[in-house]
């Protein structure tokens, strides 16, 4: 019997280890698994590498993880925003490492990890300083840079509904990085608004099949 539902947020993130690489879904404030990140904060894991599009804002979720000195390194595309004060402060002080990756490459590198590929050539960034130190090759008449897969220990994502097999559907633009991150981590933990019966999701409309999901916890809105 397959039942990926867990009862509490604490249980969902109980075994995230110090030093883990953690993918965190979300774009701006859309689709961020806020409650899971807070559970991770409480759980206490440190020395984390966090992979996410933005670097947190205000005092919640990723910003709080940074503030509490749990994040050694962040891999993201856009760490700067109106409220990214904690990231900026730590970055200026040299207390957090930043690997800046173009947004599409960030997503594609996670996909490559989930897809079992060894890397890919992309024209994105090939003429920029983000290609420094990387292999560049002319393919199909354009310069392309070799990018490597970005696998992770844990993914924390937010979906809308799930069944006990871990099949997921999302809501509007909150889908963003979720489906890709779910494939790229050894342990994929999902917070959802609602559980449905097995068979309660349209098989034609499942976005993340349960094979990519390990634990699902319900968080009431």
């Amino acid at each position: 019997m397959i039942d990926k539902r867990v009862a509490t947020l604490a249980e969902a993130v109980a075994d995230v280890a110090d030093g883990a690489t953690v993918l965190v879904g979300g774009f701006g404030n859309s689709g961020v698994p806020v409650e899971l990140v807070h559970a991770l904060l409480e759980q206490g894991a440190r020395d984390l590498t966090v992979v996410t599009n933005n670097a947190g804002s205000g005092e919640t979720d990723i910003a709080a993880l940074i503030r509490e000195r749990r994040v050694r390194r962040i891999i993201c595309s856009y760490p700067r925003s109106a409220g990214s004060v904690w990231f900026e402060q730590f970055w200026r002080a040299g207390e957090i490492e930043l690997e800046l990756v173009p947004q599409g490459t960030l997503s594609e590198r996670m996909r490559a990890a989930g897809a079992g590929l060894g890397g890919f050539f992309t024209p994105t960034g090939a003429d920029s300083l983000l290609a420094d130190g990387k292999e560049v090759r002319v393919l199909d008449g354009r310069r392309q840079v070799f990018e490597r897969p970005l696998p992770a220990d844990v993914a924390l994502i937010k979906a809308d509904r799930a069944d006990r097999w871990g099949n997921l559907v999302y809501r509007t633009a909150a889908r963003n990085f979720g489906p890709t991150m779910a494939t790229a981590a050894a342990l994929t933990v999902v917070q959802v608004r609602e559980f449905v019966e097995l068979g309660g999701l349209d098989p034609e409309a499942v976005v993340t099949p349960g094979i990519f999901v390990d634990r699902v916890v319900q968080v009431a809105r």
Binding site: Q103, T124, D127, S128, T172, R175, P179
Partner: protein, 222 residues
């Protein structure tokens, strides 16, 4: 007397170049103005790199859905025929050449079509790139919308970019408050100028050497 175009007028001029039925991504900032001035005679499908096709206008106050936002993190709506997809697929559309038009802002554009729009040489702020590089390499046509000079009067159209490149040789056309310029083998070719702008005057505020089209006209935003 020089009458620079207003941002809305520049947006109107850009809109005129977007054919009916196009798939379009509007960059953050100035480019978002374009959607407000495209006429109702055109059906344009707007793409947002966070996973939306068929984006509609901003919702009425109180109707905002905090998760339905565009790439600039502003609340938007979805039109009938729109769809949601994940980030990786959103970038397949961009990098894969499926967008007809990408309208981007710029810090600098070089006469070979190089674009610099993601980083200045300011080291006090952490670098941030987002989807800028993907948008620049992928769309069938890359249009740049920008002021002709910086706030302190330095030229943005240059022989070579001095800021870090976003992508090389990608820009097709530039729309500024003073002119519309095409990127051609010979460099910047001025097609249209704002009212009162003379070739000499435009050259004086441009870093790159300009060529003027034989049929140079005054910009008509509408």
């Amino acid at each position: 007397m020089i009458r620079p175009l207003s941002p809305t007028d520049v947006a109107r001029r850009v809109a005129r170049d977007i054919p009916d039925g196009s798939y379009v991504n509007l960059g953050i900032g100035l480019p978002t103005l374009v959607a407000d001035v495209v006429g109702p005679d055109k059906e344009i499908v707007y793409h947002s790199e966070n996973g939306i096709l068929g984006m509609g206008p901003a919702p009425s106050p109180g109707e905002e859905d905090p998760e339905l936002i565009n790439a600039g993190k502003q609340p938007v709506t979805l039109l009938p025929g729109g769809s949601f997809f994940h980030h990786t697929d959103a970038f397949v559309m961009m990098r894969g050449g499926h967008l007809d038009v990408s309208v981007l802002g710029a810090f600098q554009v070089s006469e070979t079509g190089d674009l610099a729009n993601w980083a200045t040489d300011e080291a006090a702020l952490p670098p941030a790139v987002g989807g800028a590089m993907d948008l620049a390499v992928g769309a069938k046509r890359v249009l740049v919308m920008t002021t002709h000079t910086t706030r302190d009067g330095r030229p943005k159209l240059l022989p070579r970019c001095t800021y870090p490149l976003t992508a090389a040789a990608v820009v097709d056309r530039v729309y500024t408050d003073l002119a519309v310029l095409d990127l051609c083998p010979e460099g910047f070719v001025v097609r249209e100028v704002a009212p009162g702008v003379t070739p000499e005057g435009l050259q004086a505020v441009t870093g790159a050497r300009l060529t003027f089209a034989p049929d140079l006209t005054v910009v008509h935003p509408d």
